[in-house]
């Protein structure tokens, strides 16, 4: 598998949940998704309109834009296995 994962992570400033989600996503990318990960972090406090556009209501929220169908995972991404399963990797 040599595909590039495209992620968009919606966070709410540097709140605890959001910081954790950023850290967890980085870790998952490094350890489990050997290929490249494109991660875009959107702070809803700074860009609230983008949250509205994407229908993001809860934060943190991870959107997998590719490959394959898009997927949303809400939460701090604390359980790696659940995240990988949702991404269709595990």
């Amino acid at each position: 598998m040599n595909t590039t994962f495209q992620f968009r992570l919606f966070v709410a400033g540097d709140t605890q949940n959001s910081s954790q989600a950023v850290a967890n996503l980085n870790e998952i990318c490094e350890k489990h998704l050997s290929s490249d990960c494109e991660i875009e972090i959107v702070d809803v406090f700074l860009e609230p309109k983008r949250a509205l556009e994407d229908g993001v209501l809860m934060t943190p929220m991870l959107m997998k834009l590719g490959p394959g169908p898009s997927k949303r995972i809400v939460g701090t991404l604390s359980k790696t296995e659940t995240v990988l399963q949702a991404l269709g990797v595990g």
């Binding site: 919606f10 709410a12 400033g13 709140t15 949940n17 954790q20 989600a21 967890n24 809803v44 406090f45 609230p48 309109k49 949250a51 509205l52 229908g55 993001v56 209501l57 809860m58 934060t59 943190p60 929220m61 997927k71 949303r72 995972i73 809400v74 939460g75 701090t76 991404l77 604390s78 359980k79 659940t82 995240v83 949702a86």
Partner: protein, 574 residues
């Protein structure tokens, strides 16, 4: 308290603004709870629509449960024209959680709130609704995080100075774990409203209750409400000040001439009239006469017939000379067969009010009002009757209600289950008098506030020519009606005739006597004249004879040459 804590935001929901004295607390949060189908979403949407339309306060509707498109569709029948407001003054946010969303670890609402803050600023929103917040709370793993999110939401609302309305299912409709955060929310919010939907003896009854309202007086009782044609309608007892309006001395005809006289000119405009009686005592006829009279005056009239079909009523009344069809055709009269309306007493009341308002009715007939007690539970029916009368008074509508008294409780006149007789202004009672093998209808006025009224029982006579009242005879302590009255009347007529004949006879005989006397008087006069002539004749004869004698004596003296002084020796001798 010298100053108001905060002002209120009108909801535009009929009755609710009265209960709370002005609506929901402005800039504060209100919790609205209720089971499925209790009308939460509608209440919330109506609050926003009124804000957008009447108060120029744009609103945002955050939908956790239903899609915005469906919500708009669902209220389409209420004629609110939501489409016209959409994306101008009314904004929807679809906050449904998609089923394929994976949840992993903790999360919170800050994303949505940030987005909403941006939207609020952008559209200038003043009101916001979070519909079915419990759906969102159920996603959160534990009580602590639920509590945290509720706090977050509350703080955000206060910070934004938005008038917020949060709806959730009631405690019985959700998992106990969420119930905890619900009760916690109860403490947090400034105002709490509960909607419930009960089925009582098979009849659905919706109630609304304001549980708390910080810093404000409110009506604490459960108030029935109805989701009617134009939306939410909360039943409220009329406030005293409103009930005092529209008092008038104007009279309106009852449609029965002699009844007008009995009442000293008719019913008062805006009065509520109760006509009670057993089945078949012509209650409908009396109310039909009133309706016809109202239409002839050119007043819009509404006739609710609960017992029979409108067309049947018209046909039946035609037989007693009351023509309603003409007025139905001209649009002056509207007949509503309320058999088609089902539901609780409250529902009926709302239907009555709505239809009457639509028709701009000045006179309303409800035949019979006892139906209200039949279909609802009787506890609320009384309240309904009271509100019905309050409403008609506030509107200046003249209300004629009939009420059935069955033979059982008829003895205690006034045993109407609605207790309407105590609040009605005029109470006319119709009953049967069975006497000499006949049943006749009697009409009496039990009470009529503020009008002099006859204390007499009258007989109600129905004929092709219409409805009339006849005097009744009392004889030997008994009231005579029907044939007996007629007999009495003809006997009276016969007696009168005989008396007339006798009088005529007497007059003739007196004439004869007079004539005889006149003749006699004439002959006597003639006789008198004859006698007078005779008397004159006699007097004359005497005088001439005396003259003759005097002259003879003088002559004798002359002849004798006697002295004057020696007058009569011879005379004496002779």
């Amino acid at each position: 308290m010298k100053h108001k804590l905060y002002s209120k935001s009108l909801t535009g929901i009929k009755g609710f603004d009265e209960i709370t004295g002005g609506g929901l607390p402005r800039g504060r949060t209100t919790l609205l709870e209720g089971g499925p189908g209790s009308g939460k979403t509608m209440f919330a949407l109506q609050f926003l629509i009124n804000g957008a339309r009447a108060n120029d306060e744009p609103g945002i509707f955050v939908a956790f449960e239903e899609s915005p498109a469906r919500i708009v569709e669902n209220v389409g029948s209420f004629g609110w024209n939501v489409e016209e407001l959409l994306d101008k003054k009314l904004h929807f946010l679809d906050a449904r959680v998609s089923s394929d969303m994976v949840q992993c670890g903790e999360f919170d609402l800050s994303g949505m709130l940030a987005a909403l803050a941006a939207k609020t600023a952008h559209v200038g929103a003043r009101r916001i609704v979070f519909d079915a917040l419990d759906i969102f709370l159920a996603l959160l793993p534990d009580e602590a995080s639920r509590r945290r999110e509720v706090y977050r939401l509350h703080d955000w609302l206060l910070d934004q100075k938005l008038t917020g309305l949060i709806t959730t299912k009631g405690a019985e409709g959700i998992a106990p774990s969420i119930g905890e955060s619900l009760s916690f929310m109860q403490f947090m919010v400034d105002c709490s409203v509960v909607l419930n939907h009960r089925v009582n003896l098979g009849v659905s009854q919706r109630n609304l209750r304001v549980k708390k309202f910080r810093g404000s007086a409110f009506d604490e009782n459960e108030s029935p409400f109805v989701i009617g044609r134009s939306g939410f309608d909360v039943a409220t007892a009329c406030t005293v000040s409103r009930a005092n309006e529209n008092v008038t001395f104007e009279r309106v005809s009852t449609g029965v001439e002699r009844l007008d006289t009995m009442l000293g000119g008719g019913y008062y405009r805006g009065a509520s009239v109760l006509i009670t009686g057993f089945p078949g005592t012509a209650k409908t006829t009396i109310s039909g006469a009133f309706a016809e009279a109202a239409c002839l005056r050119g007043e819009h009239t509404m006739f609710f017939s609960f017992d029979s079909d409108g067309a049947e009523v018209i046909r039946n009344l035609t037989s007693v000379g009351i023509d309603l069809q003409t007025h139905v055709d001209s649009g002056m009269l509207r007949m509503v067969s309320a058999r088609s309306i089902s539901g609780s007493a409250e529902t009926l009341l709302v239907h009555i009010k709505t239809l009457a308002r639509e028709h701009e009715a000045r006179c309303v007939v409800i035949d019979p009002v006892s139906t209200l007690a039949k279909v609802g539970n009787e506890l609320t029916a009384h309240g309904v009757a009271e509100r019905l009368i309050d409403w008609s008074k506030a509107d200046g509508t003249t209300l004629v209600c009939t009420s059935l008294l069955d033979e059982m409780n008829g003895q205690l006149e006034g045993g109407t289950p609605l207790q309407i007789s105590t609040i009605a202004d005029t109470w006319i009672h119709l009953n049967y008098l069975v006497q000499a093998g006949e049943r006749n209808r009697g009409l009496s006025i039990v009470k009529s506030r503020g009008t002099a009224h006859s204390n007499q029982v009258r007989e109600l006579v129905l004929s092709d020519d219409g409805v009339t009242l006849a005097d009744i005879y009392t004889a030997g302590g008994e009231v005579l009606m029907g044939t007996m009255r007629w007999e009495k009347e003809s006997a009276e007529r016969a007696r009168h005739e005989i008396a007339e004949v006798a009088e005529e006879l007497q007059r003739v005989s007196l004439d004869a006597q007079e004539a005889v006397l006149e003749v006699r008087a004439k002959s006597l006069q003639t006789e008198l004249l004859a006698k007078q002539v005779e008397k004159q004749l006699l007097a004359r004869t005497k005088r001439s004879r005396e003259g003759e004698m005097t002259r003879g004596r003088s002559r004798l003296r002359e002849l004798r040459g006697a002295d004057e002084s020696h007058e009569l020796p011879e005379e004496q001798a002779s």
